[in-house]
C-alpha cells in the first residue's frame, strides 16, 4: 500500500479520454494520464497507477479529449499573417513580384513584423501549434512576439543577396542574424536556423558561407527548394544544373538541411535527399494555391525521408492550420499514388509532430510524449455531437476534427491557450494593431 508520503509531488496530472504519444508509433492509449512537473513530462501511465504514484497540485479531467504533442509548423513566414488573402488566385512569380515584394518594400518595419508575428502566434496556439520554424525579415521583432506569446520557435536568420528594408547585402543579413542569436542564446524556447531564402535569390558565395557557418555553429539550414518548374529552369540556364545538384556541390545537403516545398523532384533527387539525410518541409496547401504543383508525398515518405508539415505564410494558404495540412497531406499522398493506405492517420500525426521536431534538431526536447521531454501538448475535444460516432481517435484527428476542436495548448508545461484565447496576448489590442496594418496595406 502507498501512503500519502510515498507519493511524488508534481505540478499537473492530465487525464484525457485518450493519449496519442507518437512514440511508440501508432499507439492510442485509453485510461491513461500524463504527469507534468517543472515544464517537463514526468510520466505517461495508467490513470489508476498515476493516482497511486503522484500527488498533483492540479488535476485536469478531459473526458472527451485526445491529448497529443503540440504540433510543429515546420515552415512559415509568421508576420505575413497581415497579408492573409492580400493577393489570391495568382501564380508564385506574379504573386511575389507584383504583390508581395512591392507591399513589403512599402511597409516592412519592425512594427509590421512584431504585429504580424503576434497575430500568427495567437492563431497557431489556438490551433494546437506549439513550435514554428520561421523565415522572415526583422527576426528581432519576431523574437519579441514569440517571447510575449510563450510559444517555442526556431527563428530563421534570413539571407538574400539583394537589399530589403531589413538589410543591405548577404553579409549584413548574416551579421544581423547572428547578433540576434547571440543576444537570445539563453532563452529556453528559442532556437535558430540559417535561412538562405531560395536558389534564385542567393549566390554560390553566400551559400558556401552559410554551409561553413552551419558546420561551425551547428545550425540547421532552411531554404525554399524545387518549389516551381520555373525555379528549376532558371537554375539550369544560370548554373547548368538543377538547384538540388547545385546545393549538393556547394556542400549544403546533409542532416542539418531542411528543403522547403520539394514539389518537383526527379527519382534521383529523392534518392539524393534520402542518402544525404536531408529533411523536407512539405507545404501542400501553399503549393496548390500558388499553382506550383503537387508534392510527391507518398514517394518522399516511402523513401524514408524525414518530412514535416508547414503552412507557409498566411498570404499563400490562408490559414496557419496544421490540422488542414495533416488532412491534405494524407489525402494527397493517397490520391497521387492511387493507394488509400499511403500515409495513414498515425503517420500524418507523426509528420505534424515528431518529424518536424527532428528536422529542427529538437526531437530530444519535443515532438512526442516521452518522459523527460518538454510538456508541449495540445488537447482536442472530439466528443462534440458533430464528430460522432468515433471509431478511432487518430483517424478523427486527421480526417474529422479541425483546429476549432482544440481546447488547450501547453508550451513547456504552461497553459498558453484555453477557451479559444491565447493566455498572454490581448486579442483586442492585437486586432486594433492589425487593423492599422490592414488599412495601410489596403489603400
Amino acid at each position: 500500500m502507498n501512503s500519502e508520503n510515498s507519493q511524488v509531488a508534481i505540478d499537473l496530472l492530465i487525464h484525457p479520454k485518450w493519449i496519442i504519444p507518437i512514440e511508440p508509433t501508432g499507439v492510442t492509449l485509453s485510461d491513461h494520464a500524463l504527469a507534468v512537473n517543472d515544464g517537463r513530462i514526468v510520466d505517461v501511465l495508467p490513470y489508476d497507477k498515476a493516482l497511486e504514484r503522484y500527488s498533483s497540485r492540479e488535476e485536469l479531467d478531459l473526458p472527451g479529449h485526445v491529448l497529443l504533442p503540440g504540433l510543429v509548423n515546420l515552415h512559415t513566414h509568421a508576420a505575413m499573417s497581415l497579408m492573409r488573402g492580400y493577393a489570391d488566385d495568382l501564380p508564385l512569380t506574379t504573386w511575389l513580384t507584383e504583390r508581395i515584394w512591392p507591399a513589403e518594400a512599402r511597409h516592412l518595419t519592425m512594427d509590421f513584423v512584431r504585429t504580424g508575428t503576434l497575430l500568427a502566434c495567437a492563431e497557431m496556439l489556438r490551433g494546437g501549434i506549439t513550435t514554428f520554424n520561421d523565415m522572415y525579415f526583422f527576426p528581432a521583432a519576431a523574437v519579441d512576439a514569440v517571447r510575449q506569446s510563450g510559444m517555442r520557435a526556431a527563428l530563421g536568420l534570413v539571407v538574400l543577396d539583394h537589399p530589403t528594408n531589413y538589410a543591405a547585402d548577404a553579409d549584413d543579413y548574416l551579421s544581423k542574424g547572428l547578433t540576434l542569436r547571440d543576444a537570445c542564446k539563453d532563452h529556453p524556447l528559442l532556437s535558430f536556423c540559417l535561412a538562405p531564402h531560395a536558389p534564385y535569390t542567393v549566390t554560390d558565395k553566400t551559400f558556401e558561407k552559410i554551409a561553413t557557418l552551419s558546420a561551425q555553429l551547428e545550425l540547421p539550414i532552411h531554404t525554399h527548394l524545387h518549389e516551381t518548374p520555373n525555379e528549376i529552369a532558371e537554375s539550369i540556364k544560370q548554373y547548368g544544373v538543377r538547384p538540388i545538384q547545385r546545393l549538393h556541390t556547394l556542400g549544403l545537403l546533409g542532416p542539418q538541411f531542411i528543403a522547403v516545398h520539394a514539389v518537383h523532384l526527379e527519382a534521383a533527387e529523392i534518392d539524393q535527399l534520402s542518402h544525404t539525410g536531408c529533411h523536407v518541409a512539405l507545404c501542400p496547401t501553399s503549393n496548390l494555391k500558388l499553382g506550383s504543383g503537387i508534392p510527391a508525398i507518398s514517394d518522399i515518405h516511402q523513401r524514408g525521408i524525414n518530412f514535416g508539415l508547414g503552412t507557409d505564410g498566411a498570404a499563400s494558404n490562408n490559414r496557419l492550420d496544421i490540422f488542414q495540412e495533416m488532412r491534405l497531406s494524407a489525402l494527397l499522398a493517397k490520391g497521387v499514388s492511387e493507394d488509400a493506405a499511403a500515409l495513414t492517420a498515425h503517420q500524418a500525426l507523426q509528420a505534424a509532430t515528431l518529424n518536424g521536431a527532428r528536422a529542427l534538431g529538437l526531437d530530444h526536447q519535443i515532438g512526442s510524449l516521452r518522459p523527460g521531454k518538454a510538456a508541449d501538448l495540445c488537447a482536442v475535444r472530439i466528443d462534440d455531437w458533430m464528430l460522432q460516432p468515433c471509431f478511432d481517435p487518430a483517424s478523427h484527428l486527421v480526417y474529422t476534427a479541425g483546429r476549432d476542436n482544440v481546447t488547450h495548448t501547453w508550451v513547456a508545461g504552461k497553459l498558453q491557450m484555453q477557451e479559444n484565447l491565447p493566455s498572454n496576448i490581448d486579442v483586442q489590442q492585437l486586432l486594433a494593431h492589425t487593423n492599422i496594418w490592414h488599412n495601410r496595406l489596403a489603400y
Copy 2:
C-alpha cells in the same frame, strides 16, 4: 418622402456586412440588405433603401458576417454518417467489399437510415448546407429525417441489380422508390432523382428502364461514374467499352444526368459530357481518401461543364463539409493545372451553390439570392480575430473560414440552425441513438 403606410410589410430583413448573391457572378455587396417574406427572397437592395421600402416584423443585424445562398451538397449517402471513420486508409474495392457492404448487410434497417440521416442533416445545417442530393437504401427513412430537420433534399431512388436488406431486385428498388415519390409529391422541400448505383452494379436492361422513366417523369439521374481505373477496366472487359460510352449508347447522357466523381476522363469523354449537357458532382476529398485519383477539376471547368460539389458519405470523407470541398476544389484545380488562377474563390462559391442547384434542376428555386427564389441562406461570421485581416470576403469564405464560422442557416425562410444547434433536432437524443448504432457497428 415615404410615409409608414407606403411601406411593404415583410417577415424578415437581414442586414449583414456583406452579401455574395452568386448572381450576378463575382459580386460582393456592402451596405445591402436582404428582404424575406413568406419563405422567399423579396429583394436585395441598399440598406438605406430597404429601411424606406420595407417594414419588417424582424430585423437581424449581422455586422461581421457574409450572407450567401445555402450550400448544396450534390452527392452524399447521408445515413453513412453512422460509419464515419469506420474504415479508413483502405482502397475503394476493399473498403466496399470487406467493410462497408458486410456492415450494411448486418445492420441496414429503417432505423439505421433514419438515425444516420438525421445526424447528417444536423451536421450539414451546422455547416451552412441547406440542400443535399442523397443516394442510399430505405429512402423513406431518409424522408422522415429530412422532414424533421427542415432541410431541402433530393432523394435518390437507388437501384442495383443485386438484393440488399432494402430490396430484392431492380424492379423492387424502382417500385419502392416510385411509391415513395408518389407519397411525397406535395412536400415543398423534397424532390427526387433516379439513382442507379454504378456501372458495375446495374445492368444494361435496368439502365434502359431508368432512361425511359427519367424522360417520362422528368427526373434527374444520379450515378457513380468513372470513379476508379478498375471500374473502367472491368467495363471494357465486360462490355467492350468504357462506362461513359456504355451509358451514352444506352441513352442516359443528357441535361438530366449527373455523373458523380468523374475522376478518370479522357479528353474525348470531357467533350462528350460537355456536348450532351451532363452535370458533374465532384467529390474531391472522397476521391483522394479512397485512393481513386485526382479529379480534373480545371479541365471540367474550362470545358464549360456544369459541376457542383459533394461530400460523398461520411465513411469516405469523413466530414459532410462543403467548405472543405470548396477549398479543396479550388486548391486542386490550381495544383493540377499549375495555374493559380484556375477556379477562383467566386467560382468555387458558385460551384457550391448555383451549380449544384442547376444539376438538380432546382436553379429556378435556389442557388442564388434572386428575388422570387426560396430564402435558403447561410450567414458566416468572418470578423473573428483568427481570420483577420480580411481583404476580400469571397476569398475568406473559400481559403480562410470554415464551417465552424457559420452562425445561421435558413431553409425557405425558416431559421434551421443558430448557436451551433439545429432548430428541430434534439441533439442529445440524437447522440443517444447514434451511440446505440456505434456500439452495434463496433463490436
